[in-house]
C-alpha cells in the first residue's frame, strides 16, 4: 500500500474546488482514460489574476489530491506567477508523494500549462511538443527532458515514475537512456554557461551555490547512489555534508575537491573553498 501523507489523504477525501466553471477563461486538459488518469482544469481570471479554479479528475488517490492541491495553489496568483509552478511545488504542497506517484504532480503541472496556453490563445506548436518517445503513454522527448532537469532524475525508473514514459511495453527504454545520457553528459546542455558578475549580493551567492549543487553536482553523485547537501556558507567557505553511499566512500575527499569545489568555482566564484561540515 502507498504511504500517502496526511495532506494527500486530506485532499483525496475532501477535494477542494471540484467542479466546472461556466464561461471559464481557460481550460486545460491532460491525460486520457487509457492512461489511467485525466485532469480537466478550469480557470477564471480577473485583471490577469486567477480568481477561481475548479477541476475534474479521473484517477487514483494521489491524482485527485494533486489536482485539488493545484487549484488551491493557483487561486489568487497572477498568470505569470502561476506559470512558474512546477510539479515539485505541487508535491511539496502535499508534503510529498511516493516516487512512483510523482507523475500525478507532473499531470497537474501539464494541465496548468495547457490552461495558461489556452488563456493566452497560444497553440502549442508541434515542434515545441517534440517527438513521441513513449508510444504507450504518448510522452514526448521534450517533456522527458524537462522533467529530468527540473527533478534531477538519473534513472529510467525515475523517468517512468515521473512521466509514465517507459512504463508500458518498455521498448523505448534505450531512447530514454539516451536522453538521460545527453542531459547529464554535458553540463552545458543544462544551462548556458553565463559567468555571474564578480560582485554578488550574499543572497544571490547563496542562491547560485544551491542551484549549482542541485543542477551540476547532485545528479553526478546520485548516479553512484550518493548525494550531497549544503549545510552552511561562511564568507567564501561552503560547508557541505555527504549523504547516501558517499558517506562510506573513501574517495569522498577527492569528490569534495574535484567535483563539488571545481563546479562551484566554475559556476559561482573562483574564490570559493569547500569543506565537509562537522569535520
Amino acid at each position: 500500500m502507498w504511504e500517502y501523507s496526511k495532506k494527500v489523504m486530506d485532499h483525496f477525501l475532501h477535494p477542494r474546488n471540484v467542479g466546472e466553471i461556466e464561461n471559464a477563461d481557460a481550460i486545460g486538459e491532460i491525460g486520457n482514460i487509457a492512461c489511467g488518469d485525466a485532469l480537466r482544469l478550469y480557470l477564471k481570471l480577473k485583471d490577469g489574476r486567477i480568481v477561481d479554479a475548479k477541476f475534474k479528475t479521473f484517477g487514483c488517490g494521489s491524482a485527485i489530491a494533486a489536482a485539488s492541491a493545484l487549484t488551491e495553489m493557483v487561486i489568487g496568483k497572477t498568470i505569470e506567477d502561476a506559470s512558474r509552478i512546477t510539479n515539485q511545488d505541487i508535491a511539496n504542497y502535499l508534503d510529498g508523494l511516493p516516487e512512483a506517484k510523482m507523475h500525478c504532480s507532473v499531470m497537474g503541472m501539464e494541465a496548468l500549462e495547457a490552461a495558461i496556453a489556452n488563456y493566452r490563445g497560444v497553440k502549442i506548436k508541434p515542434t515545441e511538443e517534440g517527438t513521441i518517445i513513449c508510444k504507450c503513454f504518448g510522452v514526448t522527448d521534450n517533456i522527458i527532458k524537462r522533467v529530468i532537469l527540473s527533478n534531477h532524475l538519473t534513472t529510467i525508473e525515475q523517468v517512468t515514475h515521473y512521466t509514465k514514459a517507459g512504463g508500458g511495453c518498455k521498448s523505448c527504454h534505450p531512447e530514454i537512456q539516451k536522453i538521460l545520457d545527453e542531459v547529464w553528459a554535458k553540463g552545458e546542455l543544462v544551462t548556458p554557461k553565463v559567468k555571474p558578475p564578480k560582485k554578488m549580493t550574499n543572497i544571490r551567492k547563496i542562491q547560485l551555490i544551491q542551484e549549482t549543487i542541485d543542477r551540476e553536482i547532485r545528479p553526478v553523485l546520485m548516479l553512484d547512489g550518493g548525494d550531497v547537501e549544503l549545510v552552511d556558507i561562511e564568507d567564501n567557505t561552503v560547508y557541505v555534508s555527504f549523504r547516501g553511499s558517499c558517506t562510506e566512500c573513501p574517495s569522498s575527499k577527492v569528490t569534495l575537491k574535484s567535483t563539488v569545489e571545481s563546479k562551484l568555482k566554475e559556476f559561482v566564484s573562483e574564490d570559493l573553498v569547500v569543506e565537509e561540515a562537522g569535520l
Binding site: I33, G36, D37, G59
Partner: protein, 396 residues
Amino acid sequence: MKKLVYVDNNATTRVADEVLEEMLPYFTEHYGNPSSMHTFGGKLYRKIDEARAKVADLLGADHSEIIFTSCGTESDNAAVRGTLEAYPNKRHIITTRVEHPAVLSLCQYLARTGYEVTELHVDNNGLLDLEELRSSIRQDTALVSIMYANNETGVIFPIEEIGEIVKEKGITFHCDAVQAVGKLPLDMSKSTIDMLSLSGHKLHAPKGVGALYIKKGVKFKPFILGGHHENNRRAGTENVPYIVALGKACELAKKYLAEEQTRVRKLRDKLENEILFRVPNARLNGHKTFRLPNTTNISFEYVEGEAILLLLDEVGICASSGSACTSGSLEPSHVLRAMGVPFTAAHGSIRFSMSRYNTEEEMDYIAEHIPPVIRRLKEISPYAAEIEKLELARKG
C-alpha cells in the same frame, strides 16, 4: 476497534484458530531439528509425515508425492525449473497469458535466456481455446504450465480436458492450483496433472509455507540443493511449525469444502447481484459459471480502482483492484487486458474474494457502501458526460 470487513481472501486469509493452536507448541516446546539423532528432534519427523498425509488426503494423492516448500511461488519455480532441468534438450514451454506472475514472470525470464515460450490467449470471458493449445504443442515442448483457477477473476480452466491433450503427447503438465485448493474438490489419483502447486496462506495457514505435488514417476530435478530433506527433492531444514499448520489447514479445508461450494458461493452471488443491480455501468469480469465460488471481479466504468479502494478502506472494507495504480505498475491487470476488457473498465476493476469467515451481514454492508463511493468518484470524473450517455444507451 474500527469495523473490518475482509473480502480479499485471494490475496491472503486469516489463520484459522485451530491452525494457530496446533502450530504454536512447535516454536518453544518441540523446537528440535527433525534430522537430529536424538528423540527430541527426531520425533518431529512423524509430525511432518502426519502433515504430509493430511495434505495428500485433501489432494487425493499419496503422501510420498508431496514435498513442502516455502510458498506457492517456490512450488511454481521448483516445478517449472525442475522439469526443464530434467529435459535439457527440450526448449519449449506452453503457458497462458493470464497466469500468476509466479509462473508468467518466470517464463518470460526463461524466454530471455533461450527458451521459447507460448502464451495461450483467452477470450472475453477469460476462457482458453483448447485448439490453440493442441496446435501449440511441439516435439521439443518440455512443459505445459496452466493454472487451475485465476486469482483475479476466479475463472476455472477445464484442467482435465487440458491434461488429456497434454498427456496424449507425453508432456509434463504442471498446474498452479494456489487459488483452487480448498475451494474445489481435487483428486490427483484420477487426474492428468503431473505437478500441482499450493500455498498455505490462501487456505487459512500462515504465510511462508506451500507444497508441491509431484506424481509418482514424473521426472523432476530439485530446485533448491543443499541437503537430503524432503527425500532429496527440496533441501532446507523443515519448517516444522508451519508444516504442521499446513497439515491442519488442509484437514480443515477438506471439512469445509462443501461449505465453500454452498454458503460461501451464496454470499458471493448475493454481493455480486446486489452490486450489479445497484450500480449503473458495473460489469462482471470473467465467465459467470466456470468460476471459483468465492470470487467476483466487477468493473466500475469511468472510475479508477485505487480511488475506490481508498474510499472503501475508510469504511473498513478490504478488497483489491486490477487498476494500474494499485500495483505500482502503470498498466492495468494483465489478466483483464488479455481478456480484452476495455481500458474504461480495466482501471476500475475491483475484486471481492470471500472465505468461510465472511457473513451475510458483511455482504449487506459492502453492498450498502459501494454505490455512494462510485457516485462520489463519478462526480469528480471529467467523463461525466460519457457516463450519462452510456447509461442512457443501456436503458434505451
